[in-house]
Symmetry: C2
Subunit: 372 residues, 2 copies
């Protein structure tokens, strides 16, 4: 029998389509020519590669290798095609050398998007100009910030190929940029997300995340805040803290865990292998985290990405962060988390019409498959 499951976080019902369910291994990607590993460690025309910094707007944040405790200088360079799992340092050095190998080497670089979806127009008079009438219809000037987080100088390394120190820096940039953008009182929320592979929306191969600073709270976040807040008023505690406890008690949907984080496929996962990574300790945003949060998250995230890549043949995926509104301090009812959603099925008429999903994979089976 098919089953309807409710996601306690969003209130939405997901159809777990047992009659059309597919075994976990059937979701593995067919290997094709687009493999990252076949790309070079540096591409002459890539605007995100070292040596091409002049092709992008000036950076708003940069970390250097020493921030990650990395010592690359002098490592022998290697060419494309080697597995980054075993030779990421060498690949890094190769990219540095090709770009001139000068002292300006960076580990993570955050730049404004050259073709931004939103821009900060300093000339907006917020009282008058922002609210703009188009006849009957409402529109605002598209005030906001659109940035790109270049995760590594090495063109052909995935996020999951980064070493823990490097991955920590990427995560740290999420918090640093969020804190910096919080100083703009017109921004209400920072949305960080990542598209892996062209099929998941990545238009540039070089590994990167994107960040949008928004003058409004996006509707999915509003829904999560509203439900979590109602739960808090009724039960006096955080909904995601409760869910995490229940997931641990049940155990069947947990993929990975360490002493600070748990990765699990939610009970009412809307898409196959859709995973949340949640800090064990209650915290409503990256800004309110304890120091060292990113160093604890990096190994778990890395292991998850490596498993995902190995089990499903490096599938396309989207990743995003859900966190509290900017400048909200520590909220007792909201709990930040990362979501990782492999793109294995097509969003079609049903999803467009209803805003809900038919999941053709059993969450418990998918979790077991990723664990094994």
């Amino acid at each position: 029998m098919p089953v309807l499951r409710q996601d306690p976080l969003t209130g939405e019902w997901v159809i777990i389509a047992t009659e059309r369910a597919r075994r976990p291994e059937t979701f593995a990607r067919k290997k094709n020519e687009e493999d990252h590993y076949k790309l070079n460690s540096r591409e002459a025309k890539c605007p995100f590669c070292p040596g091409n910094e002049h092709l992008t707007p000036p950076e708003v944040l940069v970390y250097h290798p020493e921030h990650a405790g990395l010592a690359y200088a002098g490592s022998p360079g290697t060419a494309a095609g080697t597995s980054p799992h075993t030779s990421s340092r060498a690949g890094y050095a190769a990219a540095m050398e090709e770009s001139g190998g000068n002292g300006a080497a960076w580990a993570v670089r955050v730049i404004p998007n050259k073709f931004p979806a939103l821009e900060r127009n300093e000339s907006i008079k917020w009282d008058a100009d922002l609210f703009d009438r188009c006849g009957y219809f409402q529109s605002y000037q598209g005030y906001g910030v659109h940035e790109v987080i270049i995760e590594t100088p090495v063109h052909n390394r995935h996020l999951g190929d980064l070493e823990e120190g490097e991955l920590s820096l990427v995560l740290r940039s999420f918090a640093d940029r969020t804190i910096a953008l919080g100083e703009d009182p017109h921004l209400r929320y920072v949305q960080i997300f990542r598209n892996h592979r062209r099929e998941a929306g990545a238009s540039i191969e070089h590994p990167h995340c994107q960040l949008l600073g928004l003058p409004y709270i996006p509707p999915l976040l509003e829904k999560e805040y509203t439900r979590a807040h109602a739960y808090y008023l009724e039960r006096g505690r955080c909904l995601l803290c409760t869910l995490l406890e229940e997931e641990e008690k049940d155990g069947s949907r947990i993929v990975l865990e360490n002493d600070s984080y748990v990765a699990y496929i939610p009970f009412a996962a809307s898409l196959p292998f859709s995973t949340l990574i949640v800090p064990r300790e209650h915290s409503s945003s990256l800004e309110t985290n304890r120091q060292g949060w990113e160093e604890k998250l990096a190994p778990l995230l890395r292991e998850f990405l490596v498993n995902l890549s190995e089990r499903l043949e490096d599938p396309p995926y989207n990743m995003y962060l859900h966190t509290a509104p900017l400048r909200s301090q520590s909220l007792p009812y909201y709990h930040w988390h990362l979501a990782l959603i492999p793109k294995l099925t097509i969003v079609a008429g049903w999803e467009m019409a209803t805003g809900t999903y038919i999941n053709v994979s059993q969450p418990e089976e998918a979790a077991q498959f990723l664990r094994s």
Copy 2:
């Protein structure tokens, strides 16, 4: 400057990304080998083709050609590859002849889905069994109905290739099945949708729609009902009636109209060329429509689909119906409509994270392009 526009129907903000906007013609599909016109009018292995009716569950509704005022018998058959725009009757006759050409010819056939997302389990005891606890988490037995509407016996004809009489029958089947399913008191809503081409989620080529009878109201519908109801309480009239008036006054986003229907790209369209087709006369559902509604809709829908196919090279698209809950009689605040959403961009991390869209096409430009 980028612009934020609010959809009055859903309340959601859409970023109209002027800085990354694309000209309408850049969305045209590249022609490839998968063209429907290169398929045969009948495929021996297709379960939806005439002669293969035994491969599907027995039909729940069937219309015969005479329902559409069509006289096919004796027309000379033609082979695949001819344009259905000029020879649909001949193509129809060919499919009939290949299948034996007997008197059992049908025009539209509605069957239960062989691999249903939801099923009617007559053994459910609604008071006790429906609500099922999975530990802390909520789940229901997946009660419901999943049907397929086979739009034509001819394998290689699009919805937009059908003649007006045939298209009217497809539309009439939407109402007839909705009324029939309304007799099941456990169903709350009927969602009809269509996926055109594999890229938009169609796993079987033979032209068809799908229908799900649901024991709950889907969240996008709930949002539309709630906003429309609030507007009605405040202003004493239907929100979509107002929007239609305003769109007509403005005119720049209207694609097509006749005396009964208007097709327009909404002010805050979330995706390129996303179009609503709305009846001029207030009506909350197909069941409460005046007689003959489908005969007025068929020519407009057909013209829209032909234009879309010609201007954008037969793009993949999703189509769906938004209507009132089952058995709701005539609601003064809700107004049924069809939505047609070409699949021209990739839903990626931003959309998954926020539930909102960045539209890289200007609705006014897109409407003009489809009109011209």
